[in-house]
Amino acid sequence: MGRTLAEKVWDDHVVRRAEGEPDLLFIDLHLLHEVTSPQAFDGLRKAGRQVRRTDLTIATEDHNTPTLDIDKPIADPVSRTQLETLRKNCAEFGVRLHPLGDVEQGVVHVVGPQLGLTQPGTTVVCGDSHTSTHGAFGALAFGIGTSQVEHVLATQTLPLAPFKTMAITVEGELPDGVTAKDLILAIIARIGTGGGQGYVIEYRGPAIEKLSMESRMTICNMSIEAGARAGMIAPDRTTFDYLQGRDHAPKGEDWDAAVAYWKTLRTDDDAVFDAEVVIDAAALSPFVTWGTNPGQGAPLSASVPDPASYEDASERLAAEKALEYMGLTAGQPLREITVDTVFVGSCTNGRIEDLRSAAAILEGRSVAEGVRMLVVPGSVRVALQAVAEGLDKVFTAAGAEWRHAGCSMCLGMNPDQLAPGERSASTSNRNFEGRQGKGGRTHLVSPQVAAATAVLGHLASPADLSDAVAATPAGV
């Protein structure tokens, strides 16, 4: 019987297989950041162990780093200690580090791909659940806990329980104005935050094949929000073109050998998935979340759902609690929800294409009065590219703040946070209670919706801008 893409990559990394035991898998690339690594390095030190493969390991600083005044000492002493701990650990164990201020610094999941380190058919891990991002290249990439970080540092392997396979086939073509973010939010709403549990998802079909690498990363990034072990997309010409010429992409004969191997990384025609989901791309429209988990979303054209409409008791209760936390009422049109803050950035939507699409909407327009908009590039390289294209000027001219690279407002670990009760439209990946700051309320959106929302002050898509005055609800 044929094998799926995920099974092929898995099989190629089995170091040891024994009946009744998890497979021991070799890890090709280990990404580190300051938050989930200190206890792992401590463990190594206590056991007198070394990092087995420093040449397959790389670290950057992203979660704690400020996005303003980066040349000054970090104000929060606890954050500063964590960053200093990473620097000390990397120096002691010989790990390559791109600290704040370095030209290769940025969100770890933006840095790996742009350096060309993320390649098809590799296994990629990081103590960070959004490691699923790298699956966009046909890598088997997943987030791990700190104990596993220590395990990979010490052995370059992980014992892993078997997984199930799920195909999500996206038929047809995404309509104009509908992005990868809308697609993945719609997928999560469809299968639920636990729908992918135990599965490696392979996204396939014509709508996926047409996506750029950066859009594919947006899709795979949020696989974890559906509970999946990983998300993958088969590598193709788009993947190879993205990689060719990057710092760590293979060169010369190695390139040819690599491409020959990468071309084998497709699910066989006779392979069978454990589960299959089919999505009709043509039926999709801009999608946003209304609740406190990424599965609580709806088309922007819809209204806040009525919890009573849920048959499942625990879903009903979850919806009730979500509406209470979010300060929303059932039946309220999503377009009438006003926001205080708009955040464009994160490992989900902090790449150059995301910034270009937001800038295209803001060009010649202004951020609505009373709305704060933060634009945070995913890495220093993304920032430099944006500046070279003049995007930073577009953002600042519109009244948005142009910041330094980092995780920023995706999570409340650095100075960029929502105040209690504040509401955001955010291109990040999680709308959990308090995720963007204690008491903050988050609506997950695409960069296009974020930009249009910033202009109008309420959740909106670019299509709403042409008749902006008519579309503005009373009281905004």
């Binding site: 170091v15 009744g20 035991e21 021991l24 070799f26 090709d28 938050v35 989930t36 200190p38 206890q39 401590d42 162990r49 420093t54 040449d55 390991t57 929060d76 606890v78 954050s79 200690t81 964590q82 701990t85 390559r96 060309g116 590799t122 659940s129 490691t131 987030g143 791990i144 806990g145 700190t146 104990s147 596993q148 395990h151 010490a154 052995t155 392997t157 014992p159 329980a161 935050t193 636990g194 135990g198 929000e225 509970g227 072990r229 760590h248 050998a257 191997y261 988990n293 625990s314 879903e315 209760l317 979850a318 409340g412 670990m413 999680r430 959990f432 209670e433 308090g434 995720r435 204690k438």
Partner: protein, 197 residues
């Protein structure tokens, strides 16, 4: 890792689904560089509410958390497991756990037990009706027992063995040194490297 064989303690009913790891331990706590001292961060936002179940005197000292479905979703932070353990929990029962959280828990000796939702409901009702009721989580016999409830649970044999023995995964893997070295010797030359060594 501390071994887990069997544990008996009082239970806390947490009637929420999709309890993500940001709720278990908010991000600002993750700045710490140790594995301890997270107990005050556990469910920090919810604990501001005096009515929250952990704030009720009757549940003080309880050691078994009986949670709604999809417990531990979201971030991979192992700090969520440490926070539960630092607070005093020995076991968590739910009808479904997020994969990464589950893996993390079993690597730290926090036993996560999957039971049918109907049984979880019964345990929650029991703990609500009688906060002094004891629940036994028996890994040797793979069984959860409480008044009027006896239910078997599954856990793969390898994970169970590691927990029962309190084995350190890294030491076990290092026994495979020759297999790892052989794999490394045969890796294709085009695979990426972060540095030249």
């Amino acid at each position: 890792m501390e071994a887990f064989t069997t544990h008996t303690g009082r239970a806390v009913p947490l009637r929420r689904s999709n309890v993500d790891t940001d709720q278990i331990i908010p991000a600002h706590w993750l700045k710490k560089v140790t594995r301890d001292g997270f107990e005050d961060g556990l469910f920090e936002a919810w604990r501001k509410d005096p009515e929250f179940v952990l704030n009720q005197a009757a549940y003080k000292g309880a050691t078994v958390l009986v949670a709604g479905p999809d417990f531990g979703t979201g971030s991979s932070r192992e700090h969520a497991v440490w926070a539960l353990q630092n607070y005093g929990f020995k076991a968590v029962i739910s009808s479904r756990f997020a994969d990464i959280f589950r893996g993390n828990s079993l690597k730290n000796g926090l036993l996560t037990v999957v039971l049918p939702q109907e049984t979880v409901d019964r345990l929650q009702k029991l703990a609500e009706a009688d906060p002094t009721a004891e629940v036994t989580v028996d890994l040797v016999g793979r069984q959860v027992r409480a008044e009027g409830i006896t239910v078997d649970f599954e856990l793969d044999e390898n994970a169970r063995w590691r927990l029962l023995e309190g084995l350190d995964d890294i030491s076990l893997t290092l026994r495979e040194e020759s297999a790892i070295a052989e794999y490394e010797a045969n890796r294709p030359g085009f695979k990426p490297r972060t540095i030249e060594v």
